[in-house]
Symmetry: C2
Subunit: 421 residues, 2 copies
């Protein structure tokens, strides 16, 4: 028996995959020396190994059986309580009924998709936006309506126009997804003024905002401040915001512990949905995160990580300037992991990627982030993972790839669908 297609659900037949995940597979499988500007991985150098080892040693003493037992779907209660403190530090007042853990923010996005998106809905997203959100939303069988961005985040006039156009065409439009702090991939920081106006707009247009905030803590102190990253959720008096955040960038992504903060009736639905999805997040992971919070490890992480990634950005920007001499342009990011760069006239990101891979350097093609078919003149360069030496060597290779660029001979579908990114 070889034909399983006839057994598939409509979703099974039309699954969307994240380009970033595919690139991760390429990295994992490819032999030889490949420098990746592709995946937005934190640098393990920044993980608090000694503290984790000490905590794990205590937790695994065997004195407390619940450390490795089944537990509540919503999360380990002391962890949820400590998350309320983390939220408070960001200006968000919440109570236990408004918070739950998720298996990474990816699951938070998937929970939103399953509980709130009906097939045929139009969901508002930025252009560009995070590929994992694109995949999860499309797997809920909606359409994605793209909204342009300015240097200070989403364009509010375009947002309203797109929303009204979609509604005018008869679509249900309930959700806006955005990444206000150091957006993935654009690196942009949504201005405080726009945050306030977005909350008013959501109320006026009866929209729920999904505020995805993995990078807010990682601002660069030469360019901005904590005050500029204040989540919209902190001023969400009407319960319009579903706030997602994670420990993946501040502690470690391997734990798969993130959280959702939203109005209690929504948390109840997400909780019920998660029950039948995976029962709960890994409990040892939850305990490790909890201990890291109460012992002050999480707080102590922030300043050194801001410094680490700021230095990486500096190295990367300098290396690109040195090696590429103005052929790539970008808006300097004020935090996070990414440079969203514009290619010279006549370059297309997809053949350039093939060329770059031959030179031993990877990035993510801009078109992967753009739901409106644009982005072919862009590439996303992540500077978070490679060492300074590797950043410089990668920039050198990228320069060679651009020198040797040949636009012809690569058909787009071959690259995009072949799963060889």
């Amino acid at each position: 028996m070889t034909d399983y297609d006839r057994f598939l659900s409509p979703l099974g037949r039309n699954l969307h995959e994240s380009v970033l995940r595919k690139m991760g597979q390429v990295i994992a499988s490819r032999a030889g020396d490949l420098i990746s500007f592709a995946a937005g991985y934190p640098d393990p150098v920044g993980f608090p190994w000694d503290e984790f080892r000490e905590i794990a040693n205590e937790l695994l003493s065997g004195k407390d059986g619940s450390v490795l037992q089944y537990g509540p779907t919503r999360g380990y209660r002391p962890l949820l309580e400590s998350i309320l403190g983390v939220l408070d530090g960001r200006g968000i007042k919440a109570d236990l009924s408004e918070v739950m853990t998720s298996s990474g923010s990816q699951q938070g996005i998937d929970l939103v998709a399953r509980v709130l998106i009906a097939p045929g809905d139009a969901v508002l997203v930025e252009v560009p936006t995070y590929t994992g959100a694109i995949a999860a939303f499309l797997n809920a069988q909606c359409r994605l309506a793209g909204v342009t961005q300015d240097a200070d985040g989403i364009n509010l006039e375009d947002l309203d126009a797109v929303c009204m156009r979609e509604r005018g065409a008869g679509s249900r439009v309930n959700l806006l997804y955005l990444v206000p702090n150091f957006q993935n991939p654009a690196g942009s920081l949504l201005s405080l003024e726009k945050r306030a106006r977005l909350l008013e707009w959501a109320e006026r247009r009866d929209i729920l905002i999904v505020e995805d905030d993995p990078y807010g803590v990682l601002y660069f102190e030469d360019a901005t401040s904590a005050a500029e990253t204040r989540p919209m959720k902190a001023d969400d008096e009407r319960g319009r915001v579903i706030y997602l955040s994670t420990f993946s960038k501040t502690l470690a992504p391997g734990f798969r512990v993130a959280w959702i903060t939203a109005a209690a009736p929504l948390i109840e639905r997400f909780d019920t949905a998660k029950q039948s999805m995976d029962l709960m997040c890994g409990i040892l992971d939850q305990r490790l995160v909890y201990e890291s919070i109460v012992r002050g490890v999480l707080d102590r992480q922030a300043a050194p990580l801001r410094q680490l990634y700021r230095m990486r950005r500096d190295v990367m920007e300098q290396a690109l300037r040195d090696q590429l001499g103005g052929r790539l342009t970008w808006i300097a990011p004020k935090g996070g992991f990414f440079l969203w760069t514009t290619l010279p006239e006549g370059y297309d990101c997809e053949p350039l990627l093939r060329r770059a891979m031959e030179e031993g350097v990877l990035f993510v093609i801009g078109s992967a982030f753009c739901v409106d078919g644009s982005g072919h003149d862009r590439i996303r360069l992540s500077f978070s993972w490679p060492s300074p030496e590797r950043l410089r060597e990668g920039a050198r290779r990228l320069a060679v790839a651009m020198d040797r660029y040949v636009g012809a001979g690569f058909s787009r579908p071959e690259i995009v669908r072949g799963g060889r990114l």
Copy 2:
């Protein structure tokens, strides 16, 4: 803003929750001394704490950054390779393209539901069957068609009749879900003869079988043998079987590491679906499980665990006989965690549960496992978690509850919908 209902998807409006999860919440939240025969939790006494601690200590040295980094969705490759060895020990020959990790077998079931169940499908399940499967399948908006069981597992005549009846009524029927080894909740062991006939039947009727096998290793040596638990997947020459198994009962449930073995085209779809669901399973958990396999910890666990749970079963059966003197009856389980007991004439499981909770003992009502409305004369008693003393004390309390049973005064919807189970 308080009315979020208008934002919900059809699924969000009709989410099904697992009764077992709800009971877990009751256990967690209830103060005082409550003995739980409800949740099928392994006993943490059986977790290999010293080995886990030693492994964690080594993994968290910081020498290998990938221990806490993002990783491939399909799973940590050495773990996948070691799982092939575990499968081989069960008679299943598979290669790397046919295996992936899932965040617990619950996610395996959810992946099956999302990729293979179209809204309106009829899915074949045993009566009774695992509540987590009921919830995940119903959340894919299918109907569940129940098939009766005999002492040696699913009734094949009824299975064919139900399948044909559903197809005759115009339903798409593609899937049969079952738990052949020490079924949850019935405790039954599917006979080898029936396993062979099921494979033929699936081929004849063009059905995929989801074989959920969490308990197969935990057979009781006085009653059966490893040979009797041989998975159908081992003889699945036509690729009809999707085999789910887990380390939750042999290592620890807190890790959320399980796996799926199926034909490569199906694994590819599940992999893609999982990408947008949670990216990957926790990688520290995967590494802990991997090291436990290659260091022989997993193999060394099996015999003592079989002994542990067999002794628990002996204590439980004796305690029920002593305390209840024939008022509860059951078919002796040959492995696993559960007694599926029949109440005396005139008793209903739901008011009895209310009565039992007042006496400080919990179980799961039989009706929760039955998609055909039956099961009101049954209760599931799990003997895996409480100590022998607690098993005996719980049986005593159950006897008191039955003495004081009053059938009237409890309406069914109040208990089922109130979420107070």
